[in-house]
């Protein structure tokens, strides 16, 4: 049971590629790998702990203000993450700028709370939240890998394409500007969704034939 709670969101039920949650921010922060990693980490912390806290409270929350209570917990955690980043990782917090605040609107968090945390034990909710955050992170890192490599010719900020390959230095190569614009993010996410679905479909078929 525990193992499945953790492993399912990574691939089989990945929040971005299978459940199509959190796509908006996956498009926004994937131009470079470093902010994508920090974003993934921040979202993982917020999904994990908001699931944990709301699962602890689940039997006391009045039904009518359920969503508001969820939002308060999520918003509080996001502000905490933002404050801690500003105090201890100032350069990265500047790089993520508005996107930290936008974690609040990440559909994965509320989605998992509504679908899982409110009906399960706190520890399971914590694991489910962290796993979904990581599943989101996997997609973010994959998308940002391609976008940074082809769009900027770097990975984690380190140049990978030799300087003299570039047209400006008399070479033959030029970075693809389309990759740093949002439309290409959507296309890359689309391709990843395709790969995931093809893979899952194959597995389903195998299980069927048995």
């Amino acid at each position: 049971m525990n193992k499945r709670i953790f492993l399912d969101p990574l691939f089989k039920n990945n929040p971005v590629s299978v459940l199509a949650l959190g796509i908006c921010s996956a498009l926004a922060v994937t131009v470079k790998m470093e902010p994508a990693l920090v974003m993934a980490l921040s979202v993982t912390l917020v999904t994990g702990f908001s699931g944990f806290i709301l699962s602890l409270l689940r039997n006391t929350i009045p039904d009518r203000i359920r969503i508001i209570v969820q939002l308060i917990v999520i918003a509080t955690l996001v502000i905490l993450v933002d404050q801690v980043l500003k105090a201890f990782a100032y350069p990265i917090s500047k790089q993520l700028s508005v996107f930290v605040g936008l974690i609040i609107t990440n559909c994965i968090i509320m989605g998992r709370i509504e679908a899982f945390a409110l009906h399960n034990k706190p520890f399971h909710a914590l694991v489910d939240g962290i796993a979904n955050g990581l599943g989101y992170g996997i997609i973010l890192v994959a998308v940002s890998f391609f976008r940074e490599l082809f769009g900027s010719g770097t990975l984690m900020g380190y140049p990978l394409i030799p300087e003299n390959w570039y047209v400006s230095a008399g070479g033959f190569y030029e970075n693809n500007g389309l990759f740093i614009l949002p439309p290409m993010a959507l296309i890359v996410v689309g391709l990843i969704v395709w790969v995931f679905n093809a893979r899952n479909a194959k597995k389903d078929k195998k299980a069927w034939n048995k």
Binding site: A28, V29, V31, K32, P35, N59, T60, I61, P62, D63, R64, I65, I68, V69, I72, T76, I79, L80, Q83, V84, K86, A87, F88, Y90, K94, Q95, L96, S97, V98, F99, G151, S152, S168, G177, I180, L181
Partner: protein
Amino acid sequence: MDKNKKNGNFYTVIYAAVMVIIVAVVLAFVSEFLKPRRDANIRQETRQTIMRSVHLEGRSYEKYITDTAAGPENLPLFICTLDDGTRKYIIPLEGKGLWGSINGYLALNDDFRTVYGAVFDHEAETPGLGAEISTPSFSDPFRGKSLYRGETFVSLSVVKPGKSAGNPNAVDGISGGTLTSRGVENMIRESLEPYIPFLRHYE
């Protein structure tokens, strides 16, 4: 818990009130607790940004920079005295980018015409696009550019990437960050204009 009791009006109101008070206390406490660190980070960053505009990153701010005010309107001006005694004049810049304010420092040589160095920063520009104004690859080419054409002040233009070659009054912008690049151009002109009348006679 009893289903009816949990959904009563009184319980709901009290629940919301208590929850909000707890959250407010936690957030206020954390914010106050981290404030010194946050402020120190911001002050340290401002000073290092100023040092970067005169290519002295990581060196002691107190040793090189004098804060002062200049002109009839007492505009802020930082004077940097290099090791060899030459002076650079650093002017703070402020303007609007695409999503929020942008700022920077422009260091001028003591002829008050040519740029010695520049740094830019932003509050909320798009990472990877407009946010690239804060990288050296954008700000380094400012060095040696001229604010004047002949004897007229023309400021600096931020033009399409690759179009600035050979133009002493222009630098390359950022592809995909056109609105932010334009913001930088406006910011430089608007921030420098009040300095121009008296700066050339400044001693």
